[in-house]
């Protein structure tokens, strides 16, 4: 300690000398005054479409000779047949395992020779084929992506391998309490709607076969259901258009199957305990359905959720983790799909503190509804979200992820343009009003994953408990 003080004093002296040299002083005791966050406009986004209905979204970013692509279809898990949850992700994963003219090996060799990669994935709403390559290889990347989307054959041996691996990964997922909670929460909140499942089941994996996958491909991977996004060092728009036309132009438009109706259950208090024998912790999820992004409540609730449980300066983190020491993690999450969204408060606590921790979660939720957030708390969060937004847009990957998400959710790109100003415009009273509608704990669905023999009785103090296995 003494040594440290001595060092510090001598440093201060040296500092004074330098300042006099430069004629500039700085008050080190406080964070520096800095200018406001710089304004930033997305690079221009050019949109067009082919006569078969495929949309094209282009963003020129010439800083690096690379190109990043997404081929996005409204063909996510919400279109899985009721008895085949996980069909869309299986189709997505197997697109790159063979087409009418290319084997899996040829696809691997070809994409690597373009300095690229290709990968299919599916979420709740959309199935996306992602590709990237050195920019001079754009025509060949597009030819490959078109072949995969139009002509994937799902070879039997690859389907068998996928099924074998998927059973293993599903087992791993089911050993994770967070996954179990997510799965149960989705089924309770989204009821009979297509958003109620978040993954395959062992039974559905066993049922997967080639004809079903081909039927799914033929029904949903059609041009009038597709958007091609390209970000990077692109040739002139006319030239891009020519290549896109060549690879996708002959693709026939098709009538899409009718979308399933979305009916959701009303919010109500229910407590479900997912039994996980031997668990030493209890995973608490409390939440309910919440509005989509076009709702006027979206920005107030998003900011409210960030104040409540977004990061290390949030209320849940400071109270439940730091003050009470109940848990390592305490956060809230507000996720939106195209047709619905949900808001949840989440924490994983030691079994012994389940009762005070669940009370603390309810108190935090009710606290958001009871009083408007102080201006400085709101201001700090607005600052944080504006900064995070900028950090996401540094790379081609970052820009295309944002545009792809707009496309998946059916939102205009102006949503991104206006994002920061809408964040800044939210008032404390609006957050409180949104909290009253979507955060107050009385009507929350509560899912706890843990050892029923250890925590069942404690949980029953909060109301009737349904135990699920």
């Amino acid at each position: 300690m003494t040594a440290f003080r001595l060092t510090y004093r001598s440093l201060t002296l040296a500092g004074l000398m330098v300042f006099s040299l430069f004629g500039q002083t700085v008050d080190r005791t406080k964070p520096p005054q800095t200018p406001p966050v710089p304004s930033y406009k997305l690079p221009p986004v050019s949109e067009s479409s082919l006569s078969n209905g495929m949309r094209i979204v282009l963003v020129q970013d010439s800083r690096f000779p690379l190109v990043t692509a997404r081929l996005n279809f409204q063909a996510g898990m919400k279109f899985d047949p009721a008895d085949l949850p996980g069909l869309a992700p299986a189709v997505a994963a197997l697109l790159e395992e063979g087409t009418k003219t290319r084997t899996s090996r040829q696809i691997s060799d070809e994409i690597d020779s373009l300095g690229g990669s290709i990968d299919g994935s599916a979420g709740a709403d959309a199935l996306t084929l992602s590709g990237e390559a050195l920019s001079e290889n754009l025509p060949r990347l597009l030819a490959l992506m078109a072949d995969l989307a139009r002509n994937a054959t799902f070879p039997q041996s690859e389907v068998d391998l996928y099924k074998q691996n998927r059973v293993q990964s599903l087992k791993a997922e089911h050993s994770d309490p967070g996954f179990l909670a997510g799965e149960k929460m989705a089924s309770l909140l989204y009821g009979g709607s297509p958003y109620a499942h978040i993954a395959a089941t062992e039974a559905s994996i066993a049922k997967l076969d080639v004809p079903t996958m081909v039927r799914f491909r033929d029904a949903y991977l059609v041009p009038n259901n597709a958007t091609l996004l390209l970000v990077g060092k692109l040739p002139a728009a006319g030239e891009v258009r020519k290549v896109v036309e060549q690879e996708f132009g002959s693709w026939q438009r098709k009538t899409l199957p009718a979308e399933a109706k979305m009916d959701f259950p009303a919010a109500k208090r229910q407590i479900v305990l997912v039994d996980r024998p031997g668990s030493v912790q209890a995973d608490i999820h409390a939440g309910r359905l919440a509005p989509v992004r076009t709702s006027p409540d979206y920005f107030p609730l998003m900011l409210g959720s960030a104040i409540l449980g977004g990061g290390a300066n949030s209320r849940m983190f400071k109270d439940i983790r730091e003050r009470d020491g109940f848990a390592y993690d305490a956060h809230s999450q507000y996720a939106t799909e195209r047709g619905a969204g949900d808001f949840q408060a989440v924490t994983e606590v030691r079994n012994e503190v389940l009762e005070p921790a669940l009370k603390a979660v309810f108190a935090e939720l009710d606290g958001m509804a009871a009083a408007p957030a102080p201006e400085n708390e709101l201001h700090a969060i607005q600052n944080r979200i504006a900064g995070l937004y900028l950090l996401r847009l540094e790379t081609q990957e970052g820009v295309i992820a944002q545009l792809n998400s707009m496309n998946t959710l059916g939102l205009p790109n102006s949503f991104l343009e206006n994002y920061v100003s809408r964040v800044r415009a939210v008032e404390p009273a609006q957050i409180q009003a949104a909290a009253r509608k979507y955060m107050e704990s009385a009507d929350d669905t509560v899912v706890v994953v843990g050892d029923a023999s250890k925590i069942g009785d404690v949980l029953r103090k909060f109301g009737t408990v349904e135990v699920a296995k």
Binding site: R28, P36, S108, S113, G115, E132, R384, L390
Partner: protein
């Protein structure tokens, strides 16, 4: 490829025809206290990365003081004269930024990525702890515990980690500087005193043992002024001596088995002493690694994962497990880590891998495959330059290890200049069974309770 002289602004259109490589603007200089400064301006997105690298890592530790480099990295977040404990993180987060620090065999780094209006804030945070870190009993005690907890969670509780961190270096190296546990022992950590830690700080966390790299949306003149204001008066210290890391002559090939109670699937590590950094063989081994393991078409994937169905997952690179070719320093290794199907024996996996290498030794890679590898290497390197943080990381390595940040614009060319004959020669020279260490990691589940 051309180098940018001084501070040419990189804008769309400033690059030549499609396919021409990127030129990263680089300006570098030194403050009078010895702090090396590298600036790379890119005003496309209003984000800035501030990255400080200290030229000290676990391989500089002394006997009886293992784990100091890592302990010290933790101390760096405990507050300083004007930044209370916790304020560093809170300040960065409330501005939407990212930050972290990490300890490596040969360096320790710290960074902040922030909206560019917060450049001064990041410089204030970093200079305050370089100048006046709070080293006291309470902070030291906290962080000893934090480091131990991190070891329990991230290493002792993870499959393969103990074998990789504690055992692998003893097979690859005989000089204690490289062979000791880079995470450190609990005994040494317990014995650390405030005086020890203060000495470590004074010796290694001096401006003349560091480089400050700033990449992103800056105005150069203003940035220089801020750097001088915040860092210019931190006194330099006598230059620390880098310990002698020379390996004794004559590598001893051997195989060892580690029983891992946490592993479910067997694994094998196969490694060879590596070349001198930035020697012709270094680039050749970078290409060899790409042929064996990069992308879907890599030979290990096609022949062993898909073909023989013997290997399940793999990773490999120069400097494995702690470094990559970017931060590789000799003495180092080239090693492969392979998880394999338990139907096979470890020795079969070693033989299959050595057969892949024998092919590289026996036949030159054909033009088609070689072209594919080069496209992949080019794309990977370009992609690595996209974010301001990864650009800063590369500039920092080229500054502190090679003394020349402008290598960021030429290293890719050196790799792409490798010929099939050089690949063959390097495979013969380095990747032989006589210079091979093998670590078999066998699952050894505990008896059910």
């Amino acid at each position: 490829m051309r180098r940018f002289a001084g501070l040419c602004l990189l804008l769309s259109g400033a690059i030549g025809a499609m396919g021409a490589e990127v030129a990263i603007p680089v300006e570098h200089y030194q403050l009078s206290n010895g702090l090396r400064v590298v600036l790379s301006r890119d005003n496309a997105v209003p984000v800035v990365s501030v990255y400080i690298i200290y030229n000290v890592g676990a391989r500089s530790e002394e006997k009886g003081r293992t784990g100091f480099a890592h302990l010290f990295e933790h101390m760096m977040f405990e507050g300083s004269a004007n930044v209370p404990k916790g304020a560093h993180f809170a300040t960065v987060e409330s501005n939407g930024g990212n930050m972290n620090g990490s300890t490596h065999p040969d360096f320790t780094d710290y960074f902040e990525v922030l909206p560019s209006n917060k450049l001064a804030t990041a410089l204030w945070l970093e200079s305050d702890r370089m100048r006046s870190l709070a080293i006291n009993d309470e902070n030291l005690k906290n962080q000893k515990e934090a480091v131990k907890q991190e070891r329990r969670l991230s290493f002792d509780n993870q499959p393969y980690s103990t074998a990789i961190v504690d055992v692998w270096p003893t097979l690859m190296f005989r000089n204690w500087q490289s062979s000791h546990s880079l995470i450190g022992s609990f005994d040494d950590l317990n014995a650390a005193t405030v005086a020890d830690v203060s000495k470590f700080f004074k010796t290694y966390y001096a401006p003349n043992n560091a480089a400050l790299v700033i990449v992103g949306d800056i105005q150069t003149a203003e940035a220089k002024k801020l750097i001088e204001t915040y860092f210019g008066d931190i006194p330099s210290q006598p230059a620390p001596k880098r310990p002698d890391m020379t390996e004794p002559a004559g590598f001893q090939a051997r195989t060892e088995t580690y029983k891992d109670p946490l592993a479910q699937v067997p694994a094998v590590v196969i490694g060879y002493p590596g070349p001198k950094r930035r020697s012709p063989d270094y680039y050749a081994l970078t290409v060899i690694d790409a042929i064996l393991t990069m992308g879907d078409s890599a030979r290990i994937r096609q022949d062993l994962v898909k073909g023989k169905k013997s290997v399940i997952q793999y990773e490999a690179n120069l400097g494995w497990p702690f470094a990559s070719e970017l931060d590789y320093r000799d003495p180092g290794d080239y090693a492969l880590f392979l998880l394999y199907n338990p139907k096979f024996h470890a020795q079969e996996i070693v033989n299959q891998t050595q057969e892949e290498i024998a092919q590289l030794q026996d036949q030159p890679v054909d033009a088609k495959e070689f072209g594919r590898i080069k496209a992949q290497l080019r794309a990977e390197r370009l992609k690595d330059l996209e974010s301001s943080l990864s650009r800063a990381r590369a500039l920092a390595q080229y500054t502190i290890v090679d003394g020349n940040p402008e290598l960021i614009n030429t290293e890719l060319d050196a790799t792409l200049a490798v010929t099939p004959a050089q690949v063959q020669a390097a495979a013969k020279k380095y990747l032989t069974p006589q210079q091979r260490a093998v670590l078999e990691i066998q699952p050894a589940p505990k008896e059910a309770k």
